[in-house]
């Protein structure tokens, strides 16, 4: 079975690279040979360490499908990279940098010596653990256990039927979108207000940015006290004013909002700071020109200011999305602990629950790899779609 898959990928690879090579002015036959070889190597890249276990006779169809998907994905990556490098080589460009520039090192040794500490630290504390995560994700591994057991891709395929996990994916998406949208709209609104020349502006600008300096965990503790259903000040005020008591932390419909409000509050200062800087860079003459043409304040904002701010908005969408994915952890941990009914268990928090609370390293490793792939995919998508509509400069 696996040989059939390799063969098919090799054929596809040969066809693909033959086309790429001829487009770049290279010999298509050469491309076909390279494509077949790269396709074969690429498809086997993950399967050799896995020992082709997804094709074992006692494995389910899901496992086999997942294995084929893995082979196709690694082969596609390898082929894409080869095609790109070949294209650049054919165009007589160096692959990575644009040739010698002033201020570059003459020898090869000095830069490497200077880079060595950074690379050493990265390799030891980032690359090695990341690679080890891949190994762990194929194991049944408990923290402190005397042995581990190889279980192929079970940690991945089981996620498809794990309701808690699937629920956490939906929760992550909903909470993240809410945080980004609310935070950006609110901070742009506040920044526009703060931008107005008023007495004492510098003082309250500083005050507005303060929340950013607080760690997510502290924000969690602050809001835990504020939101507490029985003794919290928010419910005390709501009760006195409107006779309302909202089950902020113990109702699955409300708890995500508690997390969203705390996270928005936390990221507001950062966003305001960037929007303020952006607003100061919007050329006055453009706004004046629009005003002379008869555009009212709202039109000027929509037609002139907003497009001029689009690079900052794009940047903030990316950073806020990253924040919502990874940095809300501390807030969630202190505020709700992922509950009630897992309504605030994001993918990141679920990894913590599985890996640290339950000591289940293998399953947590698999989940973190899925998150890793999703975030890469999401970022690429962002750059492809939103990135094109961004105006840099007038």
């Amino acid at each position: 079975m696996q040989f059939l898959v390799i063969g098919m990928i090799a054929v596809v690879g040969a066809a693909y690279l033959a086309r790429r090579f001829s487009q770049s002015g290279l010999k298509p036959a050469f491309g076909a040979v390279v494509g077949a070889v790269v396709g074969m190597i690429g498809s086997a890249a993950l399967m050799i360490p896995l020992d082709w276990c997804t094709f074992d006779p006692d494995r389910t169809a899901t496992d086999m499908g997942f294995g084929i998907l893995l082979m196709a994905a690694t082969a596609a990556l390898a082929l894409g990279a080869t095609g790109w490098i070949a294209g650049n080589l054919a165009a007589r460009r160096t692959v990575f940098s644009g040739g010698t520039q002033p201020g570059t090192f003459k020898g090869w040794l000095t830069p490497w010596i200077l880079l060595a500490p950074t690379i050493g630290v990265l390799a030891l504390f980032l690359y090695y653990p990341s690679l080890d995560t891949f190994r762990l994700s194929t194991l049944l591994a408990l923290l402190g256990a005397p042995r581990t057991r190889f279980i192929c891709v079970d940690n991945f395929t089981r996620l498809a039927t794990d309701t808690v996990y699937l629920n956490s994916v939906a929760t992550t998406i909903l909470i993240s979108i809410a945080i980004v949208v609310i935070s950006l709209v609110l901070s742009l609104f506040i920044a526009s207000m703060v931008y107005l020349p008023i007495k004492g502006a510098s003082v309250y600008r500083t005050l507005l940015i303060w929340p950013y300096a607080i760690s997510p965990a502290v924000a969690g503790v602050i809001f835990l006290l504020l939101f507490n259903p029985t003794g919290g000040i928010i419910n005390y005020a709501l009760n006195n004013l409107f006779g309302l008591r909202i089950p902020w932390l113990n109702d699955p419909a409300w708890a995500p909002w508690a997390v969203i409000i705390a996270s928005v509050w936390k990221s507001l200062g950062y966003n305001i700071l960037f929007y303020l800087a952006g607003l100061q860079n919007v050329p006055k003459d453009l706004i004046e020109a629009a005003a002379i043409d008869g555009a009212n304040a709202l039109q000027r904002f929509r037609q002139v200011v907003l497009p001029m701010l689009s690079p900052i908005t794009f940047f903030l969408v990316i950073t806020n999305m990253t924040y919502a994915f990874f940095e809300t952890f501390g807030t969630i941990d202190y505020l709700t602990g992922g509950g009630p009914l897992n309504s605030t268990t994001t993918m990141m928090y679920n990894i913590f629950l599985v890996g640290i609370r339950n000591n289940d390293l293998g399953k947590a490793a698999a989940q973190s790899i899925v998150l890793f792939v999703l975030v890469i995919g999401f970022t690429v998508l962002q750059f492809r779609t939103a990135g094109q509509r961004v105006t840099y400069g007038a």
Partner: protein, 446 residues
């Protein structure tokens, strides 16, 4: 002349003795999971006294932030071959401690001796529920130290105003709640409890419900989780009913985070009653004094349909590391026996609220009139000493217990927040717990 001779003799003695003494000091490192001045300080004071009694020994006590952190530090130390002499493990890590192979049972280390370094052994003096929990395969395995039980605290201002007695059964809790919630100045809710796996275990043990197969994992390795079966369903139904009637306050917090939410609700008088650990008896009693209400502790209410069999213990015990040099092992045993002797067990109880684990300590405290003056402090030990020791009330020993507890608190969460029937929720929880146990046994069992 005589003076200088004396000086010379003294000097030569000092010079001769000092290096020898420095060489023969035997280090006995002890790791515990407390960092607070009261508990870590208490253990360090006892170590200082022990070192003064036995100048050849140097017992040092090091504190870690919590059980989980100490658990991880121990696993790491074992890999590096730098284990201390004694480690404190919480009760649910007992199976893990047993499987890790790091530890030696106290009974094996004592090898029938009746005293070590002049400290009396007398293991029969430990009260029955305590020795039952830490006796594995018929052997006294680890040294009990900080032992607690789940008890019930009542805010008497509300109970007196409503004219109700402190409830002792689930039905009485409901009746009391009806009266309390009918008060003009009724609290927001009637009662609460921490959604911590330990309380589920307590309430099913009271009904003589068994948590895991093979006699709660005591006659052989547990291979199947039962979660009390009928007893578990009865408990979930009662909690669900109490929440539906608006009596039970559920904060939504689970596990370790749940304690604080109960503290807050009880302290701010938003609830009239709360289930809690006896380890905080001193704090709860004082809370009432500080806020102007009387706090009375009582047994944890039980299911009147099944009656009360007993309650199980909580807390942690001290494990002796295997493969120590004989003199280090004796020093460690000596220290363990010293801090758990009658006087020290009594003092530990008084400063913390953990129960007095020896009958002789209880007798001593009774003699001093401590329990008469502080009736709240006797509730936990009475509850434990009146418990019938059965498989259920001995408590479960099983692998992956800390993770299984998370499954159980999730089940309670689901029952309280959704309309799913208790039977189905418990069946799902059992399936998840069994998956955890099976994987644990795959990796740990021989």
């Amino acid at each position: 002349m005589r003076k200088s001779l004396l000086l010379v003799v003294a000097l030569s003695l000092l010079l001769g003795v000092m290096p020898a003494a420095a060489q023969t000091k035997i280090d006995v490192p002890v790791w515990i999971a407390f960092t607070d001045a009261i508990r870590l300080g208490w253990a360090q004071d006892r170590a200082a006294e022990f070192n003064a009694m036995h100048p050849e020994y140097n017992v040092t006590v090091q504190g870690y932030a919590n059980y989980e952190e100490l658990f991880a530090a121990t696993a790491l130390a074992a890999e590096q071959g730098s284990l201390p002499a004694v480690v404190q493990y919480f009760e649910v890590a007992t199976q893990n401690a047993r499987d890790s192979g790091y530890f030696k049972s106290i009974a094996d280390a004592l090898a029938g001796r009746t005293e070590v370094l002049g400290h009396e052994v007398n293991l029969d003096d430990f009260i029955a529920p305590v020795s039952a929990y830490y006796t594995l395969d018929g052997k006294f395995t680890s040294m009990p130290w900080n032992t607690s039980s789940a008890i019930w605290f009542s805010n008497m201002n509300y109970l007196n105003a409503a004219g109700v007695e402190i409830p002792s059964t689930w039905a009485e809790v409901e009746a009391a709640c009806e009266a309390i919630m009918a008060l003009e100045n009724a609290p927001e809710y009637c009662f609460t409890f921490p959604n911590h796996g330990w309380f589920f275990e307590q309430w099913i043990a009271q009904q003589n419900g068994v948590y895991a197969n093979n006699d709660n994992g005591r006659s052989a390795r547990a291979t199947e989780v039962l979660l009390g079966g009928e007893a578990g369903v009865a408990l979930l139904n009662w909690l669900d009913d109490m929440a539906a009637k608006g009596y039970l306050y559920y904060s939504g917090a689970q596990g370790g985070a749940s304690w604080g939410t109960v503290d807050q609700a009880f302290q701010s008088q938003q609830v009239a009653m709360a289930a809690y650990s006896s380890s905080d008896t001193a704090v709860y009693t004082q809370t009432g004094i500080d806020n102007g209400f009387e706090v009375v502790a009582s047994f944890l209410p039980y299911n009147q349909e099944t009656g009360w069999t007993g309650n199980l213990i909580g807390g942690a015990s001290l494990w002796l590391v295997d493969g120590l040099a004989p003199e280090v092992e004796d020093g460690a045993l000596g220290y363990l026996l010293y801090i758990t002797n009658a006087e020290n067990a009594a003092s530990w109880h008084q400063v913390t609220g953990y129960i007095a684990i020896r009958q002789s300590a209880i007798d001593l405290l009774t003699e001093q009139g401590w329990y008469d003056e502080n009736p709240n402090f006797r509730v936990a030990s009475d509850q434990l000493s009146q418990s019938t020791v059965t498989v259920a009330t001995s408590g479960a020993i099983l692998g992956g217990f800390p993770s299984i507890r998370n499954v159980v608190t999730q089940a309670v969460d689901t029952v309280l927040l959704t309309d799913q029937p208790a039977e189905a929720v418990l069946a799902n929880a059992i399936a998840s717990a069994n998956a955890i146990l099976t994987e644990y046994n795959l990796l740990y069992a021989e």
